[in-house]
């Protein structure tokens, strides 16, 4: 039943753990020289499929059905045979490059171990030469330096290239990439995706790409299988699935992907109705210090909630000091959302922490609701910062695991004091209503909630004191796209309802575009571009902003452009 160019064929693959079906009857094929994407949200069974295919399913998992590599059955093989097949014919790339390599080994040592198994190379010089060759083939400019480095001395993108080079050793015919770019910045992701495409074209190997990101699928995949709760809901060529998805779930997944174009349209519409003007506010860093005429008109009636000028944060380490933020500034009014965008290490989280008083900062002006917290005594400063709400990235650690949801949401009231138990109860219920969670959730513990629900509880906790400023540090980047859409909706509605100012920190330009009124683009602690969302994202002036924008994966880029696909 397998045609000659079908490299990997899964037929009715089933995986069950303790009698519960994780994957139920999956059909899928990977062709040589093509990329097949397996798309689904967390818990859909996509990683389990990959692991079961290569015999690495967790202990206690039962795999049935058929998985054929080059016509050779893989299911039911002994561990020894599977090891031989994996070592010679399959390469695997994992999500977290920092955890894919042993931290105590130099890259070259890692290569030596892998090459001894996969290519039978025993001699040191030959292994080094081969490692060099592989490192060059994945586009690392200085293979000797890379080979002589420890993993912590390399960046995430470099590490992922090393992992890919390791996976390519032994000339595998199949490459399994499990979320290879999820942990990377967009510009780095772009490079890795390009590399994968090049490898596939040059070496004619087949790739099984596992991802949750329809954008990545649209960028590089040839075939798509959409997985939901262990079942394939849609299978087909990428053009067909992305242009005209049939299954409602595929449609929902696609619709939930934030798109820049849509964000900008929305920005247009909102501006038309809102009491704010955006005409020609396109400026650079200086905007905070020199708001233009129209803005100052509103400014007189409503003073900004946050005003920061020349904010610098310096981290002191044993090896010297590091300037995390270099004279940046912003100004946010009630009901406004200011997006901070940048890659990891750009200082965007530090900015949020500085506003919350969590890191020592120098600034010419630093005003929260018209007062400078630096001039206040300890008690008053505590009260001033209590007007700042925080929402963090990781839903798993944002809530105290040993306290109920109701307790966590009510904690700010308890800390502020002066509120009776029944009043706290009432306000907790109201806060839950704002984030659209049922009131019955007050008695639950965080581990009984999903990631998106926990994040909404975090928002409720941040909102209960009716804060002047909400700092949301990557609140959606650990969530699935459909859930991310929910949380953003909730956040937007809450801002409309209670009119607080919001700093929204994200690496995802599309998310920021869909939410923020003003945007600051950060790079290495400096604000390279600042202005309204429409101006910055619609008409970027700085080349870095343009590079960032160009790197955002778009499911439809190739559909419009008629690129290399199909």
């Amino acid at each position: 039943m397998s045609t000659p160019d079908e490299l990997l064929v899964l037929h009715d693959l089933q995986v069950a753990i303790a009698g519960r079906g994780i994957v139920s009857g999956l059909d899928l094929s990977v062709h040589a020289g093509r990329i097949t994407a397996l798309v689904g949200e967390s818990g859909s069974g996509k990683s389990m499929t990959a692991l079961a295919t290569i015999g690495l399913q967790p202990r206690g998992a039962h795999v049935r059905g058929s998985a054929q590599l080059d016509g050779e059955e893989l299911v039911g093989r002994s561990a020894l045979e599977m090891r031989r097949i994996r070592s010679g014919r399959i390469g695997m790339i994992f999500q977290e490059p920092g955890q894919s390599l042993s931290p105590v080994m130099k890259v070259s040592t890692g290569f030596r171990h892998v090459l001894a198994v996969r290519e039978g190379i025993r001699s040191r010089p030959r292994a080094l030469a081969r490692a060099r060759e592989l490192l060059v083939s994945v586009g690392l400019p200085d293979p000797d330096r890379t080979a002589a480095s420890y993993p912590h001395e390399l960046s995430g993108g470099e590490l992922q290239r090393v992992v890919i080079a390791l996976a390519l050793s032994g000339d595998p015919s199949l490459l399994i990439a499990d979320e290879p770019t999820t942990a990377l910045d967009v510009t780095v992701q772009r490079g890795i995706l390009d590399l994968l495409v090049r490898i596939v074209r040059d070496r004619q190997i087949g790739v099984l790409l596992i991802t949750h990101d329809m954008g990545v699928v649209g960028e590089i995949a040839d075939e798509v299988v959409v997985l939901k709760d262990g079942e394939a809901v849609e299978t087909g060529p990428v053009r067909q699935v992305l242009a005209a998805p049939v299954a409602p779930y595929s449609q929902a997944l696609l619709a939930a992907v934030p798109r820049l174009a849509e964000s900008l349209e929305r920005a247009h519409d909102v501006r038309g109705g809102a009491a704010r003007s955006v005409d020609a506010e396109r400026t650079d860093v200086a905007v905070a210090e020199a708001p233009d005429a129209e803005d100052s008109a509103t400014a007189t009636s409503e003073p900004p909630v946050v005003r920061v000028e020349e904010l610098s944060v310096e981290y002191h380490r044993r090896s010297g000091s590091h300037l995390a933020l270099d004279r940046v500034g912003l100004e946010i009014r009630r009901g406004e959302i200011h997006g901070l965008v940048g890659e990891s290490g750009s200082g965007k989280s530090t900015w949020g922490k500085a506003l919350a008083g969590l890191v020592p900062a120098q600034a010419r002006t630093l005003e929260l609701d018209g007062v400078d917290p630096r001039t206040l005594g300890a008690t008053q400063r505590r009260a001033a910062y209590a007007k700042v709400g925080l929402v963090f990235q990781d839903p798993a650690s944002s809530l105290n695991p040993r306290r109920t949801v109701g307790w966590s949401i009510g904690e700010p009231l308890q800390l502020a004091g002066g509120t009776s138990g029944t009043q706290i109860d009432q306000r907790v219920r109201r806060a839950l209503e704002i984030v659209r969670l049922p009131a019955s959730y007050v008695g639950r513990l965080p581990h009984e909630l999903s990631g998106g629900q926990r994040q909404r509880v975090s928002i409720a906790r941040a909102l209960i004191l009716e804060p002047a400023l909400l700092i949301a540090d990557e609140p959606t980047s650990a969530l699935d796209v459909t859930i991310q859409a929910h949380v953003i909706e909730v956040l937007r509605d809450a801002i409309e309802a209670t009119r607080f100012a919001c700093v929204f920190i994200s690496h995802d330009l599309a998310v920021v575009g869909s939410l923020a009124d003003h945007v600051t683009v950060l790079r290495a602690g400096r604000a390279v571009e600042q202005g309204t969302a429409r101006e910055v994202l619609g008409n970027p002036q700085h080349e870095y902003t343009r590079a960032l924008l160009a790197s955002v994966p778009d499911p439809e880029r190739r559909l419009h452009g008629g690129g290399a696909a199909a």
């Binding site: 939901k228 990235q393 040993r402 306290r403 904690e411 800390l415 929910h486």
Partner: protein, 311 residues
């Protein structure tokens, strides 16, 4: 922007059953933990009801029975004088009832063991959390105190101290304090390490931004989250403190005669080992069974509370 109705409604999870967790006590139903639990319960009962239990055999640990002894003051009869009158035989030299001695010995062992563990745990938890949460100079001081205590020759100090102490003073209290004061460094280290991780968690940071003081963080954020570690750690360290009491009594600096103690009985038995091995067997078996059982229970508790041990 998004057709919300078309999305897989995430709130649907609310109608589902709350995810249930296997109850804790189930872990204790397997044979080993069950047996260990029975031993621990029996030892606790014998400590509480020592007079009643020894009365069952018609004896008490203080009456001499010279009639049970031979001319060389070793017990007459089979295996150290085991009989219907004296279930475990009698003590050589005095003829005291060994069953009553072992039963009463549980009192001192468990009292000192548990009390010193509670003391060590309280000191360790407070110092550990303070060190981990406050950091800086406080942390350095606690670390230093920990190192000093760990490096201190416990046995020599304990022997010297009990020589200094007047004989009228309550020996059990002295033993509790000495063992407790030397037992806190381990738990302080573990708690400090966990606290250091917890105070960096976003929920604690959020709490601090919202104006939480140290007391609030201590009580609501850190304490509940280190509680399971503390319980497990103290359960596992309990046997070593029971042994410490036995060691001190063995060396003759523990509880004073005629108060029965396993450690002292074992010490006395050494000189009678060749003549009357039964005298060593019963107190030693009691000590071993109780410490081993506490160890098993501690391990079971740790495995049951560890989320990674689920499968």
């Amino acid at each position: 922007m998004t057709p919300r109705d078309a999305l897989p409604v995430e709130a649907a999870a609310s109608t589902e059953e709350r995810p249930s967790r296997a109850p804790l006590w189930r872990a204790f139903l397997r044979p080993m933990p069950l047996a260990a639990g029975i031993v621990v319960v029996l030892s606790l009962l014998s400590a509480l009801l020592a007079p009643q239990l020894s009365a069952l055999s018609g004896n008490d640990p203080f009456t001499y029975h010279p009639d049970a002894l031979g001319p060389d003051t070793s017990p007459t009869g089979f295996f150290g004088g085991v009989s219907t009158d004296h279930w475990f035989g009698v003590e050589p030299g005095t003829g005291r009832d060994l069953f009553s001695l072992v039963i009463y010995g549980a009192r001192v062992s468990l009292l000192v063991g548990i009390a010193s563990t509670v003391l060590a745990t309280i000191i360790g938890v407070v110092l550990g959390i303070v060190a981990g949460a406050v950091g800086g100079i406080v942390e350095k001081l606690v670390d230093f105190a920990t190192d000093v205590t760990l490096g201190f020759p416990f046995l020599i100090f304990a022997i010297a101290l009990s020589a200094l102490f007047p004989l009228e003073a309550p020996r059990a209290l002295l033993l509790t304090v000495v063992i407790g004061m030397f037992g806190w460094p381990g738990i302080a280290r573990v708690v400090a390490a966990e606290t250091r991780v917890i105070v960096r968690q976003p929920y604690v940071v959020a709490s601090r931004v919202m104006g939480a003081r140290f007391g609030h963080v201590f009580r609501h954020q850190v304490l509940p989250n280190v509680a399971s570690t503390v319980i497990v750690f103290s359960c596992i360290s309990l046997p070593s403190r029971i042994s410490a009491e036995a060691t001190l009594s063995f060396l003759g600096v523990g509880v004073l005669p005629p108060t029965p103690s396993w450690g002292r009985s074992i010490g006395d038995a050494i000189s009678w080992l060749l003549v009357d091995p039964a005298f060593l067997l019963f107190p030693a078996a009691a000590l071993f069974l109780v410490t081993f059982s506490f160890n098993v229970l501690g391990d079971t508790l740790r495995d049951a509370l560890d989320p990674r041990g689920a499968r």
